[in-house]
């Protein structure tokens, strides 16, 4: 017989397992602590700054006092604009890919295109937005240019989410509808799409969260350090929350004094983005639980 008994080899095998499981649990713990740590720091340093005045007043005294209202409004305009661009385009593209497209070269090219678009770095979007929307189309640095750039940025996200939502609709729905003599388009429009709507909405919300937090695409296409009044047309520049954080922390005139305001702005932005993401996560799990076919 060999030297190792069955028991001792089992012991060493289970020992390795315990080590591995320990490492695995440790990594999960580290990641959770990282998130909580970041949130805790920002909450701790920022919550004093976030008062009702902070959210509703514009900045004064070289940004050392006052609030960030124009930045909130600007971010709102930019994200609404981005979704207005990306949602119709994305849903239509997803419908084509799931309902109409044949498995051929065209579909493959489109999919590769969408995947590659998803991988383009945000600063390259900024470069493109600058070269194309701001200069070539002469929109200037404006809400329009910024929203268009952000829209292209989140387009792959929307397409992905919409595709998933459409694929989740059971094939039986379509078959029943077609069997009743309904045309393909009407089937999609009146049966498939409404069923997929919650999933599409979730994707749209996640896209909004992403667009709200991006800085590089709007640095040269829409954002200004300080606008004296709220934008009145889509050709105006705006302040925006992520850009505001960046300029206050690096390019501002009173970096140390505005530190509490920076934390406050970060807190508002995180609350906005994470709040949006949480809503989407909850919506998604609600709909998953309700689907019972």
């Amino acid at each position: 017989m060999n030297g190792k008994t069955f028991e001792s080899s089992m012991r060493s095998r289970y020992f390795k397992q315990r080590l591995f499981f320990g490492a695995v649990r440790l990594s999960a713990l580290v990641i959770t602590l990282a998130l909580l740590g970041i949130l805790a720091y920002i909450l701790d340093n920022g919550f004093r700054a976030v008062t009702w005045e902070f959210i509703t007043q514009p900045p004064t005294d070289s940004m050392t006092k006052g609030g960030i209202m124009p930045a909130i409004v600007g971010t709102l305009y930019l994200t609404v604009g981005a979704i207005l661009v990306a949602l119709p385009l994305g849903v239509v593209s997803a419908i084509f890919l799931t309902e109409y497209a044949k498995q051929g070269a065209l579909t493959r090219i489109i999919r590769i295109g969408v995947n590659c678009l998803a991988g383009v770095p945000s600063v390259v979007f900024g470069l493109f937005g600058l070269g194309f929307f701001v200069v070539f189309l002469k929109f200037g640095s404006s809400i329009l240019a910024g929203a268009l750039t952000l829209g292209i940025l989140i387009l792959p996200t929307i397409i992905g989410a919409a595709e998933e939502a459409l694929k989740a609709v059971p094939q039986t729905f379509r078959e029943a509808s077609l069997a009743l003599g309904v045309s393909k388009w009407n089937t999609i429009f009146r049966i498939v799409l409404p069923s997929a709507l919650p999933g599409i909405l979730t994707g749209a919300i996640l896209g909004v969260g992403r667009a709200a937090g991006e800085t590089a695409p709007i640095m040269f296409t829409a954002a200004a350090f300080f606008t004296a009044v709220l934008p009145k047309s889509i050709f105006d520049e705006v302040m925006a929350l992520p850009y505001h954080i960046y300029v206050l922390a690096t390019a501002g005139t009173h970096i140390e004094e505005t530190r509490p305001l920076q934390y406050g702005t970060v807190l508002v932005l995180i609350a906005l983005v994470l709040g949006i993401d949480l809503i989407a996560i909850i919506m998604r799990s609600m709909f998953r639980r309700n689907k019972r076919w």
């Binding site: 300080f226 047309s233 889509i234 140390e256």
Partner: protein
Amino acid sequence: MRKLFQQLILGGFCLAIGAGTAFAENMVIKGSTTVLPVAQAALEAYMKANPGAKISLSGGGSGEGIKALIDGSTDIANSSREIKSAEVELAKSKGVQPKEIAVAIDAIVPIVNPKNRVKELTIDQLSQIYQGKIKNWKEVGGDDLQIVVISRDSSSGTFEAWGEMVLNKAKVTPKAQMQASNGAIVQAISKNRYAIGYIGFGYINKTVKPLTVNGVAASAKTALSKEFPVSRHLYMYTNGAPKGETAKFIKFILSSEGQKLVAKEGFVPLPADKKGKK
């Protein structure tokens, strides 16, 4: 189909509104972060006196401001350096006539961390430090510590002016850390006892220690008399002579009220005889 149609109409509607109001007057100011506090203080005071005005202000550096002027995307370009002849040519080739208006006087002051023993440097020492040839504080009378060189990004007029007046256009060592603004340099130096940086006079505060250059301390007096070797004008450039809202704003800055704001932000107001002329 109906949804798509509705969205198209909504979009077109928005565009229509947008295009209509795009013709409302909107003044854009971009450029130097050195001039930024002056521009912002002036903007806030101007807004109180003229509540209807729509003005947007950005930093980014003198290079950005001038580029925006050339590209036609700004009305006023703040600059802490003179416009380069290559930029003037580029502007003219695009039909832009840059007009230079001096609005204040400034000194660029080298600063170190308050824990640093060194109090004074000569221009030559500064030049060698920034070129990376002097690497340790003990070579200039300080402790045995590595010198960390902090500089501005190339879009900065302060960077250009420093390069001209101190380095004589020699190249800054590539190991220099780049910060995006005067404020960022103040922040970096205040936390770092190895570092040296340079900032506009108006940014000096208690967290950093200014050095004397060639034995001269920077002050309003020495900047004006040019006794302090690294002193310069701050400018606003416009396309041709300023008109309309732009003219009103510039006039405000050059007025005694505006120049008081200049002094309040820590810069040197223009001497009474030289206002606006160059």
